[in-house]
């Protein structure tokens, strides 16, 4: 090891190395080691191994930080940082990627698509997310973002013979590139203002400047726009419904939780880091984006018949709730956002899992009517869906309630009663469209008696999401403490 690559650097980088290594390995092994269709499940095993190695690296970081009692560990001259925040999000990415991979195997079989590229893209996207959660430097963050986004562009268009999938990928790519342009412009302005790409140094430089400096405002607006696009907040949400609907369902699941969580991590890093001192300037923007997201997300979801599209709008509205936590800005609020993202990850994966499980030859399973009579066919999946929808709607004792509860609480604590009231009222609206799905499952006859064929992997994933959604709802304490540690100091 030289001065350019110290032991600490390596220690901080290990999970990302593992993810990239196994990502490449799966790509090559697909041809060389496991060329037979029967051997595909070994690719999935390799992915699991990659997650295990990355998880081990993360665990070591976790114990080291806790053992030394230090707040953070920086590497590469401050470009990467391991702290409670990055660990929290990275654990979540591992969970999300693993669950998505578990539910994907059978789905890919039904779709007749390649396995190798798919698994390797999951890992590489996760590698990008790792840098989004741990990056403390504009360049690192931007490269991480692009790595993740590029993987998602490909994955959204993974069904090569499906027009909708191709169209979705094209739109996502074009608009994604557009937003990246804004983000890069904002970053270049931030660099111009401070002369550094390090978040901490930018923060110092910005705090010294006049908050009404037009260049600062321009930098802030363009950065905000880029970030809001990634979490699909209104008015930069237009890509989400199309991309969600067109993408393979498993990818939609990954996109809705992985990409969103990583982007929220990114957003928190930027807004609570370098831009913290300009709060007065960006807060109105975020308030607008949050309320607009709640309005458009909740109201537009009502008229949807395609569950994936409906969930896209629902996901837009959830982005609004997350932004409200940041708007409140107090400790409860930031903790609330962290918990919200965690809860949303498990819950949304659960919902998508049921849709994925429905997929079989001749049934896409993404129409609300496709769920008709699910309670009579397979009560287990119907109950999982019910729990997850209740959680999305924020009804106790499911986990979704905990997330919303802390967001509302933080708003009340910050004295923003109007925002809290609006957010609470939108919960009442949300129930309307979630319960259209419930009604279809519980209160109609099955249109076809065909039983659901599921695999062991899907069942494990179902158990994980169900346990996560109910478990966080009933025993939130350990998760709350974990989220509390993740706060940026």
């Amino acid at each position: 090891m030289s001065q350019y690559y110290t032991a600490t650097d390596h220690f901080v980088l290990v999970p990302a190395i593992m993810l990239a290594l196994f990502g490449c390995a799966i790509l090559l092994f697909d041809f060389w080691v496991f060329p037979e269709p029967k051997q595909r499940k070994w690719l999935l095993a390799f992915l699991a191994l990659g997650e295990a190695f990355a998880g081990y690296g993360l665990w070591q970081q976790h114990t080291y930080i806790a053992g030394q009692g230090i707040a953070e560990l920086t590497a590469f001259q401050g470009s990467l940082v391991v702290d409670g925040f990055s660990l929290f999000f990275n654990w979540m990415f591992i969970a999300a990627a693993s669950i998505v991979a578990l539910m994907s195997y059978r789905y890919l079989e039904v779709e007749g698509e390649h396995h190798g590229e798919y698994y390797s893209l999951i890992l590489l996207a996760q590698c990008g997310m790792y840098f989004l959660a741990s990056g403390a430097d504009l360049i690192t963050l931007f490269v991480g973002l692009e790595l993740m986004a590029l993987c998602f562009y490909i994955m959204v268009g993974f069904l090569r013979s499906d027009k909708r999938s191709n169209e979705a990928a094209m739109k996502y790519l074009l608009l994604g590139g557009f937003s990246s342009g804004f983000l890069a412009y904002g970053f270049s302005l931030l660099y111009g203002l401070s002369g550094s790409t390090k978040l901490s140094e930018i923060g110092v430089a910005i705090a010294r400047r006049d908050p009404a400096d037009p260049v600062l405002l321009l930098a802030m607006v363009t950065t905000t726009v880029g970030l809001l696009f990634k979490i699909s907040a209104v008015p930069f949400h237009m890509w989400a419904p199309d991309a969600y609907e067109g993408a393979p369902t498993t990818v939609t699941a990954y996109l809705s939780v992985g990409s969103k969580a990583a982007s929220i991590a990114f957003l928190l890093r930027i807004f609570l880091g370098p831009l913290a001192s300009a709060r007065a300037a960006w807060e109105p923007l975020l308030v607008f984006a949050a309320i607009a997201s709640l309005t458009v997300g909740n109201l537009a979801a009502i008229s949807q018949h395609n569950i994936k599209r409906l969930l896209a709008y629902s996901s837009i509205s959830h982005a609004g709730y997350m932004l409200l936590g940041l708007v409140a800005g107090n400790e409860t609020g930031i903790k609330g956002v962290a918990v919200y993202v965690l809860v949303y990850t498990f819950t949304n994966l659960g919902v998508f899992l049921v849709i994925v499980a429905l997929r079989r030859e001749g049934l896409v399973g993404d129409n609300i009517d496709d769920l008709a009579g699910l309670m009579h066919k397979s009560p287990g999946y119907a109950l999982l869906m019910l729990i997850c929808l209740l959680s999305l709607a924020g009804i106790p004792p499911t986990a979704g309630f905990i997330g919303k509860y802390y967001i509302f609480l933080s708003l009340i604590q910050a004295g923003r009663y109007v925002l809290a009231a609006a957010a609470a009222l939108y919960v009442a609206v949300a129930i309307y469209y979630y319960f259209r799905i419930v009604r279809s499952m519980f209160m109609s006859d099955a249109e076809d008696a065909g039983a659901m064929e599921t695999t062991f992997g899907v069942r494990v994933a179902a158990a994980l999401t169900g346990l996560g959604t109910l478990g966080i709802g009933i025993f939130p304490e350990p998760f709350l403490r974990f989220a509390g540690q993740s706060l940026i100091r």
Binding site: V225, Y405, A424, V427
Partner: protein, 717 residues
Amino acid sequence: MNFLELIWLIPLFPLFGAATMLLVGRKLDPQAASEVAVAPGVEPAAAGSGHEHGHGGGAKFLISLFCPGMVLLSFLLSAAAVFQLSSLPEKTHQVIQFTWLAGQPFHMAGGGMATFAADWGFLLDPLSSVMILVVTGIGFLIHVYSIGYMAHDGGYYRFFGYLNLFVFFMLMLVLANNYALLFVGWEGVGLCSYLLIGFYFHKKSAGDAGKKAFIVNRIGDAGFLMGMLLMLATVGSVRFVDVNQALTSGRFHPEIAGFGVLSAMALLLFIGATGKSAQVPLYVWLPDAMEGPTPVSALIHAATMVTAGVYMVARSNALFALTPETSLIVAVVGAFTAILAASIALVQNDIKRVLAYSTVSQLGFMFMAAGVGAYWVAIFHLFTHAFFKALLFLGSGSVIHAMSGEQDMRGMGGLKDKIPVTFRTMFIGSVAIAGIPGLAGFFSKDEILWQVFSSPLGSKSVYVVGIVTAAMTAFYMWRLMFMTFYGASRADARTQAHVHESPKTMTVPLMTLAAGSVLAGWIGVPKLWSVFPEGFRTFEHWLEPVFEASAARAVAHGVAHHDTSIEWLLMGLSVAIAVAGILTARHLYLIRPGLPDAIRKASGPLYDTLLNKWYVDELYDFLFVNGLSKGGGALLSRFDASVVDGGVNGAGWMTRFTSRVSIWWDTWIIDGGIRLASFLVKCSSYPVRIFQTGYVQSYALVFVAGVAGFLLYFGMR
């Protein structure tokens, strides 16, 4: 054995039952294979009597034993725990399992720091003990009744699973030791109510009614949630014990003539209560909820769930005591609901709808009592009402069962001798609700009226509303009795031939409840009847410790002194008016059956207004469904259709403008021979294409509009 430490087990029995039924019940129930949930009307003819034990009787028997058994276990455990509680000096016991929601210390709105925590904890005190006994006791009877009532319906296992799940959530609601956990039960019972209302999902109206119930309730729930959060921010805790202590400690001043944060809190909580307990303006869901199976109406929409709002207001008595203005609102809303619903019940012809409006009206009575600070009377009425209203609903179920599903009273009549057990038990229930001395309804209703009259917080005008409503109550209940059981039968021959008394599983619960309707009132005998020793007033004394705080405030208001002669007079008045109501009904529907029609013709529009429930549903439809969803919703969905789906209606002019600009640009650039730009222009050059779906450039347009808006905001600032 210390049962008090085991109270957390009480809700778990029904939860176990529910989990078993919902997850593996399908394998037990052979009828589930066909999964045909038929409406009760079809069932005796279609299924036939011999069919009952035709196949799978054993598995069904197992379900019938298992699910009511779980509720019975809960009941026994509750009874044991309550018995032990009565020997405790402080009459309250808390079991905290673990901390559920915890938070960092924060600055409260009123100053001072608080660390908020909500437990997964259970509180057994006199108030919750009354509630768990009602829920498990009446719940058990209704489970037993359902064995007979639901015997021919598909989805037997599902029904019992949902019913057990309901009992679980209801027990969570009443046993919770804080508002947050209460909210868990609060939402849970709403969910079960939704699933059970829509149980006969082949009827479209059933599904719609379930949805309506759930959505209307959610409006109330938003109020509840806000109230709870506001409480957290001002009081610093949501635990009942802490809140009561903080509110009585003198830290907060009573808001006598003003609207402060406490009033806001109380009002928000009350909005929650109006949703769950079907008060004006959110009562519209309850009559529609009668689409559910009758046992569900009896258990959820009469005896237990709908009283949750009353329970919650009584629980928050310390808060309401500090805000007399809000209390007055509670009383007035209660009175208004009572008379509104009673007036609608006067003319309804559907037997279950009459009972539904009656329930709304009786809940209004409870809120009236709570509003004037007589919380124990509210709970007392809740208690007696649970008996006689469950009885009446189950009785009506038995009638419907006998009449092959007929619910319209105009098609009934003369059932008195054909289904004697149902008749006799319903007779008792109707006497009880009418307020004839000696039966349960009299004691509680008379006490409410007296409290409204005499309490310093009460008012004479509310009393007048109450007494008029009482007269209406006696009238519509006996109208129901006379139309159903007396006179000549108006049913067709086929139905008449089929009339039969219900099986034992249905009649035994009826008889038990009838006994309850007679006896339940005798633990709350009026003080006026001084011949009875204090033991006959156990109910009030039992609840005293819970309502100490509000009682103290009421004393501070100064107790008005009334002559006992006034009290005797009022009691006489209420009895007289009840008898008058019954006699009027008898006159109109038994002796001179032609008269109601004459009245109907004479009263004209008023009758129609009543029959159409004051057109409130239509008004709401117009305002919210058409106004908001077809107006505002359509606007948004048009935006959705236009911009999101690519049509660009809203942004149409702008697009056209840009595209015209770009055509002009196009000409110039192509002349210049720059291909890249020509590509860009091509994207937006054909206005017609813009109106097709999914154009990515219209997405980008919105994107740019957003950026421009953001920049403009700073430019204009």
